[in-house]
C-alpha cells in the first residue's frame, strides 16, 4: 500500500471534501521535506524508532479501543451515545505524540482517540464508558465527558464547538504564567461553522496565543456532507480571515500530520501565534453507534479503508526497516491483551455509590 502522494492537490483526493481551491495554503513544502527525510538511522522523518513504535502502538490502542467499544455497545455494555474515532487515528497520534502533560488539548464528542493519544488511562476510560466507579470521571461523565486535567486533557465535549474558547483559555494560561505549554483544539468539519470557531481564532490571533486549531474534516457532520454545510472548499482556507497560517494535511498520513503539527506547535511555542490545520480524514463507523449510515456508500468507505492509516504506518515501518512484521504483531497482541483486560476489569468494577450523585458540585436546595 502506497503512502498518499502529497504532490497531488490535496482536496482532490477526498470525495468527502470540496474541490481543490486556488486559495488553499498547503503544506506541500514541509511534506516534501518529510518525504525526503525518510529512512535515516534516527528513524523516519526525524522521528526516532522508539517514538515511531510508540506512535504505532497508540494508533493500535485507539483502533482496538473503538472496535471493542462498538462491539460492547451493541452488546449493551455501554449506555448512552458513543461516537467512534476509528479511521482518524493518525490525526490524534500525529499531533499528541509531540505534546507533554503541560500541554493542554480540548476535544469533541468523538474524543476517545484524543484521550488515548494524550495519555489518559485506558482502563479508566473503559470503565468510564460503562459508568463504573473506577472510570476516569468516576462514571459521572461518560463517553462524551472524559477528561483528565492532570494529563492536559480538558475534556471531550458534548457541545459542537464548545472546546474552542476553552483551548484559547488554556493557551492564555500558558502565556500568562509562562509555562511554555501550548494548547491544541480538536474539532470537526461541522464545528468549523460554529460561532465559537470564529471568535476563538480571532482572539488567539490578536493575542498571539500558543494554540493550534485542528479541524478533523471527516467529510460529514452527522449525516450532512461538508460540501453542503460548509461554504469553504477547504476549511483551512478560513485561516486567511484571521491572517494566521492555514494548512491542509492528509489526515490519513501520520507523517504528514506529524510534520505539519511540528511546524504549528513550534510556532506556538515560539510565541508566534496560532495555526489552523485541517486534516482530511474519514470515520469508519457511523456518526454514532446505531447510525444506519444511509448517506454514504460502501464504495466510498472502502476507498478510504484501502488507504488505512495504521496499515500505511505498518507498511512504512517494515519497508524502512524500523520493525519487522513480527515485532509489530507483538505490539498488536499486547494492545489486544491490554484492551481485553481493561474490559474485564470494567465489567468487574462496581457502579458508583448512591452518595456520588450529590458530590463534586456545590449543592444548594
Amino acid at each position: 500500500m502506497a503512502l498518499y502522494n502529497p504532490r497531488q492537490p490535496l482536496s482532490a483526493n477526498f470525495e468527502s471534501g470540496a474541490p481543490p481551491s486556488a486559495l488553499v495554503t498547503t503544506t506541500t513544502d514541509s511534506m516534501e521535506a518529510t518525504m525526503s527525510a525518510t529512512d535515516t538511522d534516527a528513524g523516519i522523518a526525524g522521528i526516532d524508532r522508539e517514538r515511531l513504535l510508540d506512535m504505532y502502538e497508540r494508533m493500535m490502542q485507539i483502533r482496538v479501543f473503538e472496535d471493542l467499544a462498538g462491539k460492547n455497545f451493541a452488546a449493551g455494555l455501554i449506555p448512552g451515545f458513543v461516537h467512534l474515532y476509528a479511521g482518524e487515528e493518525a490525526v490524534a497520534v500525529g499531533i499528541c505524540s509531540q505534546l507533554t502533560d503541560r500541554d493542554v488539548i480540548t476535544s469533541t464528542h468523538r474524543g476517545h482517540g484524543h484521550c488515548i493519544a494524550k495519555g489518559v488511562d485506558i482502563d479508566g476510560m473503559v470503565a468510564e464508558l460503562m459508568g463504573k466507579s473506577t472510570g476516569v470521571c468516576k462514571g459521572k461523565g461518560g463517553s462524551m465527558h472524559i477528561a483528565d486535567v492532570e494529563k492536559g486533557m480538558l475534556g471531550a465535549n458534548g457541545i459542537v464547538g464548545g472546546g474552542m474558547p476553552l483551548a484559547v483559555g488554556a493557551a492564555l494560561t500558558a502565556k500568562t504564567l509562562g509555562t511554555g505549554g501550548v494548547a491544541v483544539c480538536f474539532f470537526g468539519d461541522g464545528a468549523a461553522n460554529q460561532g465559537t470557531f470564529h471568535e476563538s481564532l480571532n482572539l488567539a490571533a490578536i493575542w498571539k496565543l500558543p494554540v493550534v486549531f485542528v479541524c478533523e474534516n471527516n467529510g460529514y457532520a452527522e449525516s450532512t456532507p461538508v460540501r453542503y454545510h460548509c461554504s469553504a472548499s477547504d476549511i483551512a482556507n478560513r485561516a486567511g480571515a484571521y491572517e494566521v497560517p492555514g494548512v491542509v494535511v492528509d489526515g490519513l498520513d501520520l507523517f504528514a500530520v506529524h510534520e505539519a503539527a511540528a511546524e504549528a506547535i513550534g510556532r506556538a511555542r515560539r510565541g508566534e501565534g496560532p495555526t489552523l490545520m485541517e486534516a482530511k480524514t474519514y470515520r469508519y463507523y457511523g456518526h454514532f453507534q446505531g447510525d444506519q449510515v444511509t448517506y454514504r456508500t460502501e464504495e466510498e468507505l472502502n476507498r478510504y479503508k484501502e488507504r488505512d492509516a495504521i496499515a500505511a504506518v505498518r507498511a512504512h515501518l517494515i519497508e524502512h526497516g524500523i520493525a519487522t512484521a513480527d515485532e509489530l504483531d507483538a505490539i498488536d497482541q499486547r494492545v489486544h491483551d491490554q484492551l481485553d483486560h481493561a474490559w474485564q476489569a470494567g465489567k468487574a468494577a462496581p457502579f458508583p455509590d448512591a452518595e456520588e450523585a450529590l458530590t463534586d458540585v456545590y449543592v444548594s436546595y
Partner: protein, 341 residues
C-alpha cells in the same frame, strides 16, 4: 357542540410528525429548519429522500412530501439558523426550527429571548414572531450532562415566550398545531423518553388551546401537578397511593406559559394538599413557580406544606444508577404525598 374526532394509536413521535405534516400542508409558509432534520443534503442518492429525518427520526418522511426547500438541513450553527428562523418569522414565514437538545440553548439564547421574544413589545406591537422551536428534553437514556437537561424554566421565565410541555401523543399533536398557528415565539419541549410511548390521537387538525391544563386522573385527596414525563411518574404513584386509599388528582399544565392557574387552584380547593413534580433542577424552577403561585393565591386552601419532587441541584450524571436517582421516581412522589397526608 364538539364532536369527538376518530382516534388512532400512535407514538408521541408519530404524533409530532403528523402535526408537522398537517401544518405544512395547510400553510406554505411553514418551513422546517434544523440539523439533519432530513439529513443527507447534496448526497446523490438522497435527493428528496432523507438520510435520518432527525437524529431520532421525528421529522422522517417530510422531505419526501415537501422537498428540501421546506425541510431545510442546516449547518451546526444554532445562533445562525435559529436566528434566521426568527428573522424569517418576522418577515412572513412560519418556521419550525429544531434545537436538537435543549442543552444547546446557550448557543442561541440571545436570538430567542432577546430578539424574537421581545420584538412585539419593544417594537410597540408592530411586529410579530410566529416561530416554533422544537427541542428535546429529559434524562433517562444516559445521554449525560450535556444532553439530558430540561430547563423549560429558563424559557418560562422570559417574557414573550410561550412554553409547551406535552406528556402524551394526543397533547403533542394538538399543542404543536396550536404552536405553529400562534403569533408568538413558542418553545415546544419534547421529552426524549416519551418518543416511543403510545396513545390515542385524534385525526384531523384540531389544536389544543394553550393555557388549559388537563386532569390526567381525578382524585379528591391530593393534587399532584406534574410536568412532561413526570405525568407518567405521577400516574404510577397515584396507583400506589390508591391502593392505600389516597386518591390523587394528577394535573398536567400542558403549557407553563401561559399557566392555567385556575385548574390548579380548583384542584387544590378540593384536595387541600399539593405536590409538584418536575424533572428539572429545583432552583427557580417551574415547580417552584407553581408552588409560589399556590402559596399566594391558594394559601387559604392549603392544609399542609407544598411539597416539590424534583431533580437534585446537580448536573445529570451519566452512570445509570446515578441517573435513576436523578429523575423523580414514583416512589419519591408517593413518599412526598405520604409526608403531608
Amino acid at each position: 357542540m364538539v364532536v369527538a374526532a376518530a382516534t388512532r394509536q400512535m407514538t408521541y413521535q408519530q404524533a409530532i410528525n403528523e402535526a408537522l405534516r398537517i401544518a405544512m400542508r395547510d400553510d406554505p409558509r411553514v418551513v422546517l429548519m434544523g440539523e439533519d432534520i432530513a439529513g443527507g443534503a447534496m448526497v446523490d442518492h438522497l435527493v428528496n429522500d432523507d438520510a435520518w429525518g432527525g437524529p431520532m427520526g421525528v421529522t422522517k418522511g417530510l422531505v419526501q412530501e415537501f422537498g428540501r426547500d421546506r425541510v431545510l438541513d442546516t449547518p451546526i450553527t444554532e445562533a445562525g439558523f435559529i436566528g434566521a428562523a426568527i428573522g424569517a418569522a418576522a418577515t412572513g414565514l412560519r418556521p419550525v426550527a429544531e434545537l436538537m437538545f435543549v442543552d444547546f440553548f446557550g448557543c442561541c439564547m440571545d436570538q430567542i429571548f432577546d430578539q424574537g421574544a421581545k420584538f412585539r413589545y419593544m417594537f410597540g406591537g408592530k411586529a410579530s414572531c410566529p416561530v416554533v422551536i422544537r427541542t428535546q428534553i429529559g434524562a433517562g437514556v444516559s445521554a449525560a450532562a450535556q444532553h439530558s437537561g430540561c430547563h423549560y424554566s429558563v424559557f418560562t421565565h422570559m417574557p414573550g415566550i410561550k412554553t409547551v410541555i406535552p406528556s402524551t401523543p394526543a397533547d403533542a399533536k394538538g399543542l404543536l398545531l396550536t404552536a405553529i398557528r400562534d403569533e408568538d415565539l413558542v418553545m415546544f419541549f419534547e421529552n426524549k423518553v416519551l418518543y416511543g410511548t403510545k396513545g390515542d390521537v385524534p385525526e384531523g387538525d384540531e389544536g389544543i388551546p394553550f393555557g388549559v391544563a388537563d386532569i390526567k386522573r381525578p382524585g379528591d385527596d391530593v393534587t399532584i401537578v406534574a410536568i412532561s414525563r413526570m405525568v407518567q411518574q405521577a400516574l404510577k404513584a397515584a396507583d400506589t397511593l390508591a391502593a392505600e386509599g389516597i386518591e390523587a388528582e394528577v394535573v398536567d399544565p400542558r403549557t407553563l406559559s401561559p399557566l392555567d392557574e385556575g385548574t390548579i387552584l380548583e384542584s387544590v380547593a378540593k384536595t387541600h394538599h399539593v405536590v409538584i413534580v418536575d424533572e428539572d433542577n429545583p432552583r427557580c424552577s417551574a415547580a417552584a413557580d407553581i408552588a409560589a403561585m399556590v402559596a399566594d393565591k391558594g394559601f387559604d386552601l392549603l392544609d399542609a406544606p407544598i411539597k416539590l419532587v424534583t431533580a437534585p441541584h446537580t448536573p445529570v450524571p451519566f452512570s445509570p444508577p446515578l441517573e435513576q436517582l436523578y429523575v423523580p421516581s414514583p416512589e419519591r412522589i408517593v413518599e412526598a404525598v405520604r409526608s403531608i397526608r
